[in-house]
Symmetry: C2
Subunit: 405 residues, 2 copies
Amino acid sequence: MPVNLSAPVAANLLPVAGVSLGTAEAGIKRAERKDLLVIKLDDGATVAGVFTTNRFCAAPVTLAKEHLAANRGIRALIVNTGNANAGTGEQGMQAARTTCAELAKLLGCAPEQVLPYSTGVIMEALPVEKIIAGMPQAISNLKADNWFDASQAIMTTDIVAKAVSKQVQINGATVTVTGMSKGSGMIHPNMATMLGYIATDATIAQPLLQQIVSEAANRSFNCITVDGDTSTNDALMLIATGKSGVTINESNRAAMQAVVTEVATLLAQAIVRDGEGATKFITIKIEGGKDEAECKQIGYAIAHSPLVKTAFFASDPNLGRILAAIGYAGVNDLDVEKLKLYLDDVLVAENGGRAASYQEEDGQRVMGQSDITIRVVLNRGAVNATLWTCDFSYDYVKINASYRS
Amino acid sequence: MPVNLSAPVAANLLPVAGVSLGTAEAGIKRAERKDLLVIKLDDGATVAGVFTTNRFCAAPVTLAKEHLAANRGIRALIVNTGNANAGTGEQGMQAARTTCAELAKLLGCAPEQVLPYSTGVIMEALPVEKIIAGMPQAISNLKADNWFDASQAIMTTDIVAKAVSKQVQINGATVTVTGMSKGSGMIHPNMATMLGYIATDATIAQPLLQQIVSEAANRSFNCITVDGDTSTNDALMLIATGKSGVTINESNRAAMQAVVTEVATLLAQAIVRDGEGATKFITIKIEGGKDEAECKQIGYAIAHSPLVKTAFFASDPNLGRILAAIGYAGVNDLDVEKLKLYLDDVLVAENGGRAASYQEEDGQRVMGQSDITIRVVLNRGAVNATLWTCDFSYDYVKINASYRS
């Protein structure tokens, strides 16, 4: 079950003027579930995004990047679940192109003004005819106040939907930011996560929008991991419709960046809290490093260690496993005598070994919690980094040993 | 249960003249199990080894390296299970020194002529008094024909003991090589694995012995992974007693290297076959790479992917997960259109997607086997690499969520 995470409440999700969303049951993999989403944008919206760095990136990722680069203005996004259209070669590219062309026809725009997204099983042909057949239903229920339904339509192994809204005052006016994400396994984003969509009614020129989404991704989706598997289909998109009348520029950029990063962080953390089989939400803070790269390197070594993750599942303060992970992280000049390891506020290790003050019952008490912070103070520089991950349970194996069935 | 791996048969393990082994029940962690091993060497033996690269390397690793460097000739090795003496700081170093000094007294040699090894739980103080108390029992049953008992005494979560003997004719005489290893989890060696000891009755000067053991480790223990966790205590030792009368030099080195590598490979594979919770033994062949580093990088990305490992546990040919792992392995100029993926002899993917000839039932048939080969032909160079790993099951989580209890 998700760790301290509830499904969003529909009434708390604020519409973003200029964005309407419609869903359909297209029967892509199973009948009677929402599996198709169309996001329609009013003319004049700007769109930016970050995508997976996986070399086997999916056909829709390749095509979305191509359409963004065409720079004709984006009018719609289409998302299907049940099939990732990844590892599908030239046939997969054709399927993605057909999807965009058919939706463009129905909406009266050019195919290059549509961005496609897919998530689901890899290396199976996209049933494009089912997607085309589902489009009229999705278009018929397009509305602005529809983020709750939309967040459900993009779920795969997610247990709960993930969506959040925030408002901020900029230049004396209210700016709204609403976002949603999906993802639960194959989570170790390297640009973004499985899928995330954030919209605002501010006016933001495309180059600045790209900077804001990249920075937000680096502080949020690029700081989480469930299982260390970087997906073929990761994408995080940021849409700015301009309907609030507030224009973002260098002078007020910081406020906009902050709220987008906050929304992205909540959506990214929600993915970890709903990580496949997760029973614990673990924050990993690496402090006093020489640079961000080494902080993340050590943090991810801890976050990816199956031995650390299973110890947390067992609520067993077998914390030497964390020391082992720090030791093999690949920071070759690391002086282990200098670092300190804390579990929440409990000092666990220093001077190369167990702290004299450390009592097993203190470690045990923290391990019993569902939200836990591992803090490693390296004492070799001034840079910090924070990552989020979850534990590794029987249910992770169960979910992933039976995902296709 | 171990995958196609039986315990060694005592009668098949050949003594190596000049090496005697004795075990004891020292009660280090639990009563009534062999947990202490003394290996005594006749005067004149040479010893070389490779050790973990983990920065949190255990006190005995540090001390063993120091004693080897002292170059006074090694007369004994001592191994305890139940406690790794890692993450134990200065106190741990003192415990390791005391262990060597006490054994040296009993055997009549210098402390620098003893090499210490520990394996078990990390960050707990070594019960050195129990080890000292157990020494007389181990010494009292020292004998050459004792590799079977010895291989049992070094087990931790291992289900079966691991030991093998080979003989080879060199310069018209018979040279014997006998080795043993232990390990099952925290297995992603980076120099060697948890613990491995190989002895031969050939005469081999120390510098050449070091080259032979390093080369053997690179082709065996450095090519396996169970869970991607590099231990704090890894060590692979090679002992040459010279009792066969055969001297190894550049002219006959190749034959010696081949047999040591063969023994090391069998011992390394045995660790994977006995990997915690393993139900499948998976050989990963990466062919046609530009260099060994990129071949191993792609191989380990596949081997460490929890999604790939759980699919193999489920015997589910969800083979797109292998493509995803290849894609995120970090070989940034990899052309995925050029590579071919095979499962045993079945061509699964080419031209960036599923092979036209691929039938799900062919994949399903191979996935049902307990020994499976994944072959990735990169078509970008002439270098190959082979790795060995296992799947990821409920039992892995069970074992590691309860190891300390």
